[in-house]
Subunit: 308 residues, 2 copies
Amino acid sequence: MSPINLAIVGVGKIVRDQHLPAVAKNADYRLIAAASRHGTVDGIDNFKSIDEMLAAVPAIEAVSLCMPPQYRYEAAEKALSAGKHVFLEKPPGATLSEVADLEALAAARGVSLFASWHSRYAPAVEAAKSFLAGTTIRSMRVIWKEDVRHWHPNQEWIWQAGGLGVFDPGINALSIVTHILPRPVFITAATLEFPENRDAPIAATMTFSDAKGLDLAAEFDWRQTGKQSWDIVAETDAGTMVLSEGGAKLSIDGKLVHEEPEQEYPMLYRRFAEIVKAGKSDVDLAPLRHVADAFMLGRRKFVEAFHD
Amino acid sequence: MSPINLAIVGVGKIVRDQHLPAVAKNADYRLIAAASRHGTVDGIDNFKSIDEMLAAVPAIEAVSLCMPPQYRYEAAEKALSAGKHVFLEKPPGATLSEVADLEALAAARGVSLFASWHSRYAPAVEAAKSFLAGTTIRSMRVIWKEDVRHWHPNQEWIWQAGGLGVFDPGINALSIVTHILPRPVFITAATLEFPENRDAPIAATMTFSDAKGLDLAAEFDWRQTGKQSWDIVAETDAGTMVLSEGGAKLSIDGKLVHEEPEQEYPMLYRRFAEIVKAGKSDVDLAPLRHVADAFMLGRRKFVEAFHD
């Protein structure tokens, strides 16, 4: 099979850091164009908009959409309508309803839609899932605390309505949790803390349960300086499981049992090629649904203004 | 077929006003028990909790769950697990994820789950759907403005997190809109107004679109005194359509074309008996998904405190 002619839309930090290196190393793709209001990619044709790009380069077979979620639907609708396969960065959209609409459109056009969740491909996630499948879980705690000034410096879109705030990293935790747990969960209570000058939360706490009464709590906080935490801790009848560093390391009762080099984006692009070849889509909305549920069910609390 | 042995849980205003009269007139049901913390139903066995009721009256085949949405999952999970069919008042739950979980449980148990949307059965809704199917819609405006002090006096749960506030009536509008429009829609922007002393919004404005760029806006407000509005107005190439009084009347270019007596709950119970007999479920989450999307995407604004 010849390589998939790929285009990238929205050339920002995540594209430079992750998408371009992953695509460059994968023989299944040939990157032939990019569209972005500000960024460009060296050595290929660059355009200011997806419309110009799709009109000028009919050879494009698939597009990766990496602009902020508030602008993703329109581009995805154009690409799918033009018969292109679409890779959506996370979160897949600004609303659940628009992504459901895109899924139906992809099915109608006979092309593949991929709602990517990179953290599900973190090195130790599958090992954690296998461990939990054989145990009784007594409790689970999700602690996702990072310094927004370090990880999202001056990213205005993330603080706007629809930008999700601390749920932008938090949805990574939710994508892992929903993948490794044996049963679906749902939020039972939440508190969202909004800086008084921002439209998106800087911190959130949530409790979840499932049909068996699982004890699950999550804490997301963007005000963490010093040590950063992206940890999932489960107390089980087979010991204490710690999935740490965003899914990179797994230890049981303090003993490191799984650690491999990080390969998230290379694996995402492998998965995308797989579904394109198989002629199917991969759209799991559970992580975004939990975020929407948290906003709908959650209590709002106002906290100190945040300035970058 | 012998009547379905029915029980009702959560005996409040909506049960007395709507459920009991509808069930009494429908030969498909025999009401045999009720459970409620405060209310009782004359002439049948009454219990304080669903657990007591299910244990004491094994003949129950179906239950209608009419308690506030924050408490609905637990009761539904118990009823479905006990092999009973379940009728959920609107909204079907406090989160999308818990209702998705109930849907899977009903399927696994081979019983029927009904997420009811009474406004979809308002007299003129089907006529509006038929009219719109043959037109090009230029714009649609949804105006749902009522006096909360009149319609929800001292209903504390409605103001709590998860009680949905003005989206409790507003979801009725969304249930109609999602039923009569030819294509799925999604929210593109929203503003939610929270009284400074409450955890749920008293007003909301939303804009929606669809794959064809539909111009749709909705306005929900609980501060309306004087004339109450539950109207959907569409400008189309076949004239101006006004679906008014919550779906009761339809007029085209000012001419009343459809008006019949209101039969919402009788029709809901007819539909529930139908799905029970057919061995299937009827769970459309689109109205609740739009509410969750509005909370997730919406800008929050604080307004004057509200006191009953």
